[in-house]
């Protein structure tokens, strides 16, 4: 095998990574420079992607070199950008003003818990920006300077922003604990927008954004590639179930447009989740369509700028209109739902050409989606189960002892807390919760969201994944949990790495993979293999062990 490098988990020794130094540096935070050590930062956005998107200052530059090739008037650009945003976004101005440094957020960030770097305390992360705000936008800061926490904007400050605003996954756990409700994700978003004015992007974010513009999805899958992929899934589904599922693509006049993150089309275990959707829709004979244009639910614009959120999101309503659907159903994606729930209708709506979503199977009207016209598939499926519309044989999942990772955005941005649990308890008889301060609104991030899930950032991903990984290991040891369900494509990709490291033996799954494996289908053959094309272990008579159906329903 090749020698491990900082981009592989083998490189990191557990005892070294677990030995976290919470002692702050001796000097003041303003005097502590950033240390760009391997494994803790992300490659710069390539010039060709910036050019493709008409973004400023496209060039090749290197994080570890002194000269970041900023524009000559970079300082003026940043201060002007800050001034514009302070007047445009009231939340930004408010969050710059109101923090009392109580410290409630300090130990709530997974990066601080797993890394011990004081600048990963949300209060201090915000202070990186707030210190400039004080210096250049408040009278007291201009007069008293450092005494009131103000400092001059320098290139070193920009480097510090780049390092720490790309060490925040915008998960908003800290905000749950802030007595003022300061939303650190919004602060990070502002920091990243300002960096963007200087052409300082990370490639893991800006290449997907450029791909999405060109092909409709982050991965750059073209229409014939998507068709080929879905047909591949259909073959595997037929192999497992004996049922040949339909694959409607770009079907005009369909009732429902289905949009899911493109990670589900490429990376295991997300691909099995995708197969789960296909099994479900086929069994319901749902009048839906895939789209090769709106072929991405995720929106890496959220990790770039407000303008980019809007530009990428626009295709979903545009495609819904073009195809003439009635409403939109969305897959198991995380940050997608922050965009759908909190930005889409005001940015690109009103979608008055669509109807209030109504389940054609149960007749349930999704009033909560009256404005966006877009329903989360977990909500849709929970409603099906509640109305007894799915024939389920949860015994098929008896070899699985599952816990739920509340994906940050569905949990904290959408309040999707009960539905995934309700589904899991109906399709799997062994469901166990992780400790209460690590789930629901208090859920811990995977450590790789918001565009941080790339391998060169492996040390930070493993550190950031420690709190979640630790909670997984707890239920693994206590209840024998062997699968972690998550409703987010970034989770399915990055938690696989986190579990391999912190809780080896626990596999990651999507919710609809388990749903489809439990579903009894019309015309199915004897189900001996699951969607992963693996033998289903034969359940002993009496099936589920302790913690079975009676316990969990």
């Amino acid at each position: 095998m090749a020698t491990p490098t900082p981009d592989t988990i083998e490189y990191y020794k557990k005892e070294k990574l677990s030995d976290i130094d919470y002692e702050p540096p001796a000097g003041g935070w303003m005097d502590t420079p950033v240390n760009f050590r391997p494994g803790s930062w992300i490659y710069p956005g390539k010039a060709k992607h910036l050019q493709y998107l008409d973004l400023p200052n496209p060039r090749e530059w290197v994080v570890t070199e002194k000269d970041w090739k900023l524009q000559e008037n970079w300082k003026e650009i940043v201060l002007k950008g800050m001034s514009e945003r302070l007047s445009k976004y009231r939340s930004f101005k408010l969050f710059m003003d109101i923090c009392v440094r109580c410290g409630a957020c300090a130990d709530k960030c997974h990066f601080f818990i797993g890394g011990g770097d004081p600048k990963n305390m949300p209060v201090l992360r915000a202070e990186l920006l707030r210190s400039i705000y004080r210096n250049d936008f408040t009278a007291i800061g201009r007069v008293l300077g450092k005494i009131v926490g103000a400092r001059e904007l320098t290139e070193d400050v920009i480097k510090e922003w780049f390092y720490y605003f790309f060490q925040c996954t915008e998960c908003r756990r800290c905000s749950v604990f802030c007595p003022y409700g300061i939303d650190t994700a919004e602060i990070t978003m502002m920091g990243r927008e300002l960096l963007g004015l200087l052409g300082l992007y990370v490639n893991w974010v800006i290449e997907p954004v450029a791909n999405c513009f060109r092909t409709g999805n982050h991965l750059g899958i073209q229409p014939h590639g998507l068709k080929d992929t879905l047909e591949f899934f259909a073959d595997d589904i037929e192999n497992a179930t004996g049922v040949k599922v339909k694959i409607p693509i770009n079907k005009k006049g369909a009732e429902i447009l289905f949009v899911t993150p493109s990670g589900d089309f490429l990376a295991d275990p997300g691909t099995f989740t995708c197969m789960g959707y296909m099994v479900l829709f086929n069994e319901l004979d749902l009048d839906f369509t895939w789209s090769t244009y709106a072929s991405e639910g995720g929106n890496f614009g959220l990790f770039t700028s407000h303008e980019m959120i809007k530009r990428l999101n626009a295709k979903i309503y545009a495609e819904a209109k073009r195809l003439g659907v009635k409403w939109i159903l969305g897959g198991e994606c995380g940050h997608m739902w922050r965009v759908m729930h909190q930005y889409m209708d005001t940015m690109n709506g009103p979608a008055d050409f669509l109807q209030v979503p109504k389940s054609p199977i149960t007749g349930t009207v999704f009033d909560n989606a009256r404005s966006t016209k877009m329903v989360h598939i977990v909500e849709f499926t929970a409603d099906l189960i509640k109305h007894g519309k799915l024939k389920l044989d949860p015994k098929r999942n008896d070899h699985i002892r599952v816990t739920l990772h509340d994906s940050c955005n569905p949990a904290r941005a959408l309040g999707m807390l009960e539905e995934p649990r309700y589904i899991l308890k109906n399709v799997c008889r062994n469901f166990y919760e992780m400790p209460e301060n690590t789930i629901r609104e208090q859920t811990f991030c995977c450590g790789g969201g918001a565009g941080l899930g790339t391998d060169e950032n492996m040390e930070m991903r493993l550190r950031g994944g420690l709190p979640r990984g630790n909670a997984v290991r707890y239920v693994q040891e206590k209840y024998g949990v062997n699968q972690l369900a998550a409703m987010c494509a970034i989770d399915r990709a990055t938690l696989t790495t986190v579990c391999n490291y912190w809780a080896p033996g626990v596999l990651v799954t999507g919710i609809h993979e388990l749903v489809a494996n439990a579903m009894v289908l019309n015309g199915e053959k004897e189900r001996t293999i699951n969607l992963r094309q693996e033998e289903i272990p034969r359940a002993e008579s009496g099936s589920a062990e302790k913690g079975g159906a009676a316990d969990v329903r």
């Binding site: 090749a2 595997d236 089309f265 899930g453 987010c488």
Partner: protein, 105 residues
């Protein structure tokens, strides 16, 4: 951007050694890239994987999902790791001149 020499051909590479100009790829480039992955000689099995990836990329513009790679070539994942120690994405795809996949993967 760093560059990489394969015979008479100079190619731009990214931080992880993936070539940036897929049009310049040829067998000689593949062999040279393989050496950076600790693969001294490309055997018939190596070429079977590399050629499959290359053809898929030319047809679809992206890398295939790993399961499809395994199914279509008949190699199991552990066999791919034996051939390319960095695995299908970072090893085999790199040698075949494909770009790194990005996004929620």
């Amino acid at each position: 951007m760093a560059s990489f020499q394969a015979g008479n051909i100079t190619l731009e590479i990214d931080e992880d050694g993936f070539i940036q100009e897929p049009d310049k790829w040829n067998d000689e480039v593949a062999a040279a890239l393989a050496k950076t992955e600790g693969v001294e000689t490309l055997t018939e099995d190596h070429w079977k994987l590399v050629n499959y990836l290359r053809d898929y990329y030319l047809q679809f513009g992206v890398a295939p999902m790993i399961r499809k790679l395994c199914k279509d070539t008949g190699f199991k994942l552990n066999q791919i790791y034996e051939l390319f120690p960095s695995g299908p994405a970072k090893g085999a795809c790199k040698v075949a001149g494909l770009p790194k996949p990005t996004g929620c993967v």
